[in-house]
Every structure is written in structure tokens, then in C-alpha cells.
């Protein structure tokens, strides 16, 4: 079953064309990493898939359904963005409980306690998020994206701001989830991305410049391809 079907997707912000006809399909359970330089359109693509941005043209279907036609489909999506999506004036536990309740999670307190333990924040759960470090907020943000156990995860540069320990926690989480849910990840680290995903795409100037399922073990070859697509020396 196709988890994501993107067909001829375009998005223009005034004169700037962020996406210029992206076509992409991701099967349920697949993990796709999208590489691309700054301004390539990675964030716009993920936000459009997540229904946060209305496309200028083309279509997006999630699990065979137009996500804009049925708001309930949003319960199938978990998003980690550049922004934390957290309220600094609420505690870590309150932030997760708030999200869990609005997603209609049954036994939200238990789910929240389990997630806090998973991301190593149980001891800091009663503290206000404004007292968290950048890395701790990012870990909580990741827990927040998983609070409703979504089958589709959209992760926009999730390693940003994470220290080595937190990055290890995220890698462990994503590795454990491989095959059980669909993951679309954007990152600037080719090594990290290849280690976590079984497909890759390179987005340049709002277009998919390269897509592959095979040969992802050869880091140097992928780096060379990336450099060719982006037009910089490897």
C-alpha cells in the first residue's frame, strides 16, 4: 500500500517557486531520506505532505486519501519540524499530555510516561520547557511527534541541536521503527540519512534530481552523486 503519493506538486510563494513539479511515491513501511541544499524545497515538501501548506498545483494523497479532504487523516501523521511545537510555559509532561488528549490517545498519562522514559526526560518531566536545553527540547519534540503512535513520520532535520547522546536516542528510535511505519526524513548528513533509510532522493531547486533504492551502502558514491546533482565539488 502506498503511504504517500505526490503527483506533480508545485508550490510558489509569490515569485519564488519552492516546488516545481515533485512526483514521489513511498510505500507503507518504507523509510525515505531526502537530501538537498538549503532552499531546495525540503521543508516545503514535508509541510505540504503534512497539510500545513496548500499546494499551488499537483496532488498529495496519504494512504490513498486526499489529506485536505478529511482532517481525521492528520492523526496518521507525526511531524518533527525545525520548530519545537512546544509551549515553554507548560512542563514537559503537560506538553505531551496536551498533545495526547487532542489526538484522542487512550490512557494518555501512561503513554506520556512511557515516551518520556524513551527519550530520557522522566526526571525533567515536571519542569517547564523554558528551562530545557535545545537538545532536551528537541527530544521532547520527538516524543511529541510520536505521542499518538502515527504510522507516518515526517522528520525535518531532526538531528538539529541534538548532542551525541540525544542523537543516539533518536537513531535508536528510528531504527526500531523501521519497517513498522513510514518515515520521510530530511537531513544534511548523508551518512546519518543513509544509515536510517532504505531509499533516498535528492531535491534540488524544487525538483527531484535523483532517486535510488540500491547502492546506499556506498557513502562515497552517494556523496559524489549528491555533489553532481547540487553542482558543487564532492
Amino acid at each position: 500500500m502506498r503511504a504517500i503519493e505526490v503527483e506533480g506538486l508545485t508550490k510558489a510563494f509569490g515569485p519564488i517557486h519552492a516546488l516545481r513539479g515533485v512526483t514521489l511515491a513511498v510505500d507503507a513501511g518504507d523509510a525515505l531520506v531526502i537530501f538537498g541544499p538549503n532552499g531546495a524545497g525540503k521543508t516545503t515538501l514535508l509541510k505540504t505532505i503534512a497539510t500545513l501548506i496548500r499546494p499551488t498545483g499537483g496532488s498529495v494523497r496519504l494512504f490513498g486519501i486526499d489529506p485536505r479532504a478529511d482532517v481525521r487523516l492528520r492523526a496518521q501523521i507525526g511531524v518533527v519540524s525545525h520548530q519545537s511545537y512546544l509551549y515553554p510555559g507548560l512542563t514537559g509532561a503537560e506538553n505531551l499530555l496536551f498533545a495526547a488528549r487532542l489526538y484522542g490517545v487512550s490512557r494518555p498519562a501512561e503513554r506520556v510516561a512511557r515516551l518520556l522514559e524513551t527519550v530520557g526526560l522522566t526526571a525533567r518531566a515536571p519542569d517547564l520547557v523554558r528551562t530545557y536545553s535545545r537538545g532536551m527540547a528537541q527530544r521532547l519534540s520527538i516524543a511529541r511527534s510520536l505521542v499518538h503512535d502515527p504510522p507516518l513520520l515526517l522528520l525535518d532535520e531532526p538531528y538539529t541541536g541534538l548532542d551525541r547522546q540525544a542523537a543516539g536516542v533518536l537513531t535508536g528510535l528510528l531504527t526500531a521503527m523501521r519497517g513498522t511505519r513510514t518515515i520521510v526524513l530530511t537531513t544534511h548528513s548523508i551518512e546519518q540519512g543513509l544509515a536510517l533509510c532504505d531509499r533516498m532522493a535528492i531535491l534540488v531547486d524544487g525538483l527531484i534530481a535523483y532517486e535510488a533504492e540500491d547502492g546506499l551502502q556506498d557513502l562515497h558514491a552517494v556523496e559524489r552523486i549528491y555533489a553532481e546533482c547540487v553542482g558543487v565539488p564532492a
Binding site: V71, R74, Q83, Y85, G89, E94, F98, L102, Y103, G104
Partner: protein, 225 residues
Amino acid sequence: MSAVGTVGQLLWKDLVVEWRGREILTAMLVFSMLVAVVFNFAFSPSPADAPRLLPGMLWVTLAFASTLGLSRSFVLEHDHGAIEALRLFPFDPSLIYAGKLLANLLYLLAVEILLLPALAAIAGVPLLASAGPLAVILVLGSIGLVAVGTIFSAMSVNTRIREVLLPVLLFPLAAPVLISGVRAMLSVLAGASWGAILPGLRILIAFDVVFLVVGYVIFEFVLEE
């Protein structure tokens, strides 16, 4: 979760954050009290003039105080991208409007509860005899102010000049609320009957209904980039 439950959660979040930070209410209250004192010094109303001046002083103060609260209302959601997170929840985005509107309304009513007696004491106007009609006028007027203000607050939060843009957008549209509120209150303080203030109340009710419906319907589009 039901729509009422969802709005309840959204309201709970706003009230808890405000209770801990006290950013909005403190700003609104301090500003209102200062304006009340300034008005008193500026006009020094005589006992005969006071009932004629009080409604204008009150509604002008409320209009400016409400922009202070409304301009901060969506900053909380904007700073860490929480507004995007709210749009990812599987419920009608218009419920976000309902939650914000209720929070803004509670803040404004809290200010009114303290401001009205303070202004009345400063101006020496007895209010107890007409407390019922005054409360009705204030609640209807406040609903109108926040119904429009919440829409413009969401629209202006992504701009760099939000503190300027909000009153520029809000005041012209909220003029019927301010004018009707002042006139109705003048009649009440002059001892008029319910029948005399009914035309003003009708305008307030019509304004509230129109902008509550408009806000609820268009809010999804207001939130989109």
C-alpha cells in the same frame, strides 16, 4: 474528542500558560488602571458630568487594553511553531478560533471587573443600581471586540508590525461595538429603561453573531501561510 472537549483543552492550555507567565493580564490591567487615572486628571469630571464621560472613558480604555492582550494572544503560538502543531491535530481548525476567543474574552472580562469599579470610584458615579444592564452591555461588547480581534490577531502575528497592524485593522471594524456600547451605557447611567437601550443591544448582538460566524468560517484560511 468532542468539539467542546477540544475547545476546553485549548482554553486550559492558554489559561495555564497565562497563569504562570501573567504576561497578558498584567499588561492589560496595569495599562487600564493607568489610563483610568490619566483620564481622571485630564477631565476632572464634576459630579454632573461624570455619568456622561464615564462610558467613553471606559470603552476607549477597553479598546486599547484589548489590543494589548490580543496582540500577545497568538505570539504564544507563533514563537515555537505551536500554531503549526495545532493545525496538525485531527480537528476542525476553527476550534482553535473558539479556544482563543474564549481565552481573550476571559482576560477582557477580568479587566472589566476591576476597571469599571475603579473608574466609577474615581469619577464618583454610583453603578450598583444599574449593574445588570451594564453587565449585559459589557459582555456583549466584549464578545464583539474579541470576535474581531482574535481574527486580526491571528492575521497580524506573522507580520513584523503586528503591534501597529492590529489596532489599525481592529478599530475601524470594531467602531459599531464602541459606539453602541458607549450609547447604551450612557442611557443606562441616565436612568433609561431596558426598552431605551434595546436598539444598542440589538446592534451589539448582531455584530457578535456576524463576526463569530465569520471568524469560525474563515479561521482555517487565516491560519494558512
